[in-house]
């Protein structure tokens, strides 16, 4: 059994799995049930000036029979009073001293307002604050949420205000609705943040009802853009997490959020630099119980790979992410079909023929064959193949002459491989 305990920016947790600030952390009784189910920590549903929500606030994206591979919402922050929330946080923390309870905050952009709410909430026994600079709908129209997170100067300024009075660790939750995630991340750090968390939800319109022609979710005949989350956003979140993790200046912990459903997803975030993870949509779909397999699966994975603690894998893949210009142009793979596993569905053939480089033909037994001279090693056939092991990508070069685009630009006398379709500047 590996050690799953984490210390995230000074906040201790029995495991790296936290609930993100959202409906599953709406109130004390819910958070307590979540802790009973095994969640290590919970970021309470964002506190602030009580708001009024609209009715009908979620919409889902389905893929075939799979429901809700993406979710969008136009819900605002908590609609419960500050007193009640703070009282429940206090009681919850007393009952569960070993679990992490984080208070998510969002108030208007005034120093006094931030000072007041931080002071009022920090004696609840909670372990830290998360500043919600990420909500992209509703609150942003009032100058809060992503309206702050999208302007690095504001992010830095409000973080400073909070740090002036807070005696707890402060996590800044970033919005993904920016062109580049590094500037707001650095701004949070400059403002004194102890950590960042990302991503919050992404601007989105979920779809349109073809009969009424009203977009989802319908609020009395109208719709507004909402925040997108769930399985479908994971790659976007992974990119942003790894961008920050490999930034030379940025050096505070990252809490990874976005599309995490299983222990596998969580491990990916950890490998790319997250110090822990937060989950919302998967719990909204299946309930708190999913954490059992997250813990069990992570444990078995660490045991099988020979790691004694989850901390040993944090950031292990960060050095494997680089700029395109550093990739080796002479690395060469081609697709090969393994007839033993091929089921002759011909999906590889048609994908390559119409979507790639026309490298496939058929042998006398109707098995697909790759013309290795035409194959550029794009992976498409292997990605569409439904039968494991039927297509493998095989390396052809011997690795003796790596040349990146950056190196080649500086020294065009370097030799590039002549193989495959013509590369600009290749000396074929």
């Amino acid at each position: 059994m590996a050690d799953l305990t984490t210390n995230f920016a000074g906040i201790k947790s029995p495991n790296p799995f936290w609930l993100a600030s959202a409906p599953p952390t709406n109130m004390g009784s819910m958070v307590e049930r979540a802790f009973d189910a095994g969640w290590g920590g919970a970021v309470w549903k964002t506190l602030g000036e009580p708001i009024v929500n609209v009715s009908s606030r979620l919409a889902g994206l389905d893929q075939g029979a799979l429901r809700m591979i993406g979710l969008n919402n136009i819900e605002l922050i908590t609609d419960r009073s500050l007193e009640v929330n703070l009282k429940e946080i206090y009681e919850c923390k007393k009952k569960y001293p070993n679990n992490a309870v984080i208070i998510s905050l969002m108030v208007e952009s005034k120093r006094e307002a931030w000072h007041e709410i931080v002071k009022r909430s920090q004696d609840t026994g909670a372990d830290g604050f998360e500043l919600n600079f990420g909500c992209p709908h509703g609150m942003s129209e009032r100058g809060m949420g992503s309206a702050m997170g999208q302007v690095p100067e504001y992010t830095c300024m409000v973080t400073e205000w909070v740090k002036e009075v807070s005696n707890l660790p402060v996590i800044v939750k970033l919005t993904p609705n920016v062109a580049h995630i590094v500037p707001p991340g650095r701004a949070a750090m400059q403002g004194g943040a102890d950590a960042v968390s990302l991503i919050n939800t992404i601007n989105s319109v979920m779809g349109v009802d073809l009969d009424t022609m009203i977009p989802y979710p319908n609020v009395n005949g109208m719709a507004a853009h909402g925040g997108y989350c769930g399985t479908a956003v994971k790659p976007i979140a992974l990119n942003m997490v790894s961008e920050l993790a490999r930034d030379a200046e940025f050096n505070i912990p990252i809490s990874g959020i976005g599309g995490i459903n299983t222990w596998r997803d969580a491990v990916e975030f950890l490998l790319l630099g997250a110090g822990n993870v937060q989950v919302c949509t998967a719990v909204m779909h299946y309930g708190y119980r999913i954490v059992e397999d997250m813990i069990d699966g992570l444990n078995n994975y660490l045991d099988e790979k020979g790691f004694a603690s989850v901390n040993e894998i944090i950031g292990k893949s960060v050095s494997r992410v680089t700029d395109w210009g550093n990739l080796d142009l002479n690395y060469e793979v081609v697709a090969r079909v393994n007839n033993e596993h091929c089921i002759k569905c011909n999906l590889c053939y048609i994908a390559c023929e119409d979507g790639a480089h026309q490298c496939f033909s058929f042998d006398e037994n109707k098995y697909p064959v790759v013309d290795e001279h035409e194959c550029v090693g794009c992976n498409l056939c292997a990605l569409v193949c439904p039968s494991p092991g039927a297509i493998s990508m095989v390396r052809l070069d011997d690795g003796s002459n790596p040349v990146s685009w950056k190196e080649y630009s500086e020294d065009p006398s370097k030799t590039l491989r002549s193989h495959g379709s013509s590369l600009p500047g290749s000396k074929a």
Binding site: W263, R289, I290, E292, N300, Y301, S387, P388
Partner: protein
Amino acid sequence: MSELEHEQIEQNFAEINPPLNQAEAVFEANRCLYCFDAPCMHACPTHIDVPSFIKKIATGNLHGSARVIFDANPIGATCARVCPVEVLCEGACVEKTLMDKPIEIGRLQRYATDFAVENNRQIFQKGESNGKSIGIIGSGPAGLSCATYLARLGYDVTIYERKALPGGLDTYGMAEYKMSQKDSLDEVKMVENLGVKFKLNCEVLSEPSASAGGLSLGKITIQFKSNVTDNGVQPSATADGSDLHDAIFVGVGLGATNDLNIEGENLEGVMDALYFIEKIKTRDWKSVPIGKTVAVIGAGNTAIDAVTQAKRLGAERVLLIYRRTEKDISAYDYEYELAKKDGIEFVWQTSPIKVLGNGKVSGLKCKKSDGTEFEIACDTVIKAIGQQKQTSFFQNIGIEFDEKGRVAVNELMQTSNPKIFAGGDCVNGGAEAVDAAQMGKLAAQGIHFSLFGKKLSFAGSM
């Protein structure tokens, strides 16, 4: 003796439910809706958390998946192969969800448990010794299950088994096209690895106190009646005078097959279905005593197993003879369908009245319910009309049983003797392996409660 080629018979006995490969398993696992408080879990007698183990297959956590299964059912690998899933978990899946084709729960269960067996994963460990010793009579599903939970709790457990191999009917009774002896013995190995001791070829005798203590060769006597204490009876097993148990679990299953009580029953060629199946289990096909025309009497699941296997061995003509009508048969629909597919001839509303032959069987004289009599020429007669209960054993060890010969137990699986617990076929009168496994689990909880006053509930003991 079969006239078919060895190769042909091997082919005939190929598994009817072959394992899923990785792609199939993952695809199937992802089809599962992951219901909450799922109907399949309720339908499973051991209440395995089915959605949880399936979800773990989908996430690639096979070790965890096997753990969920074995946690609720120590014979999860056997059950994956032999459970009548159509009326249990998979039946609930179609009935209670939108699935028109149920999730293949049994085969997914096999996928996960095969992973554990093939990779020698010892999922549970022996608990720290608690100083108490339990004797278990019978190494079938009930005994194995009880032993597993007790060993996990730290009990010192000894299983007494009269057969040469452990596993009860898992090893000696399951249709060969469902599972092999190796499958059963692999699972027994996991129980052995928990430190459970197996005394094989060791029949527990049940003579009343007078002869108690007397050892016969390779056998033990449990002196149930010799040490009467304030509690009633103090069971003290004395195999070689050494084992003293704090409680006994009785998982002896059922007894011999009922006799036909007709003339000619002792002719050569008349046999008990259990004997016939036991012979098949050796996979020494040529040694199975079977002729060209086989008449099987009865219409339960055992009768079906007998006809389908007789056919697979190469009998030319196989008849199933039943005194009532088609709609009265007790075999499951899918078992009956299998027999029909195998080309079995069904003779309804007919009872045998005399086995014909001179030394050896040459035919069977039958009577229709309308009184007409006729003869069937055959050289083999297999009796599958239900098994007896081991009532004289129960009587001799001093535990009460009901009018049907089933051991009477309370909710702790405790018999009328508070030191003796029971479960499995000997309590429910004969059901499925999975039911016996559940009773073994409940008995382990009952034993722990009676010895330590601690209530606990293992996975799926709801």
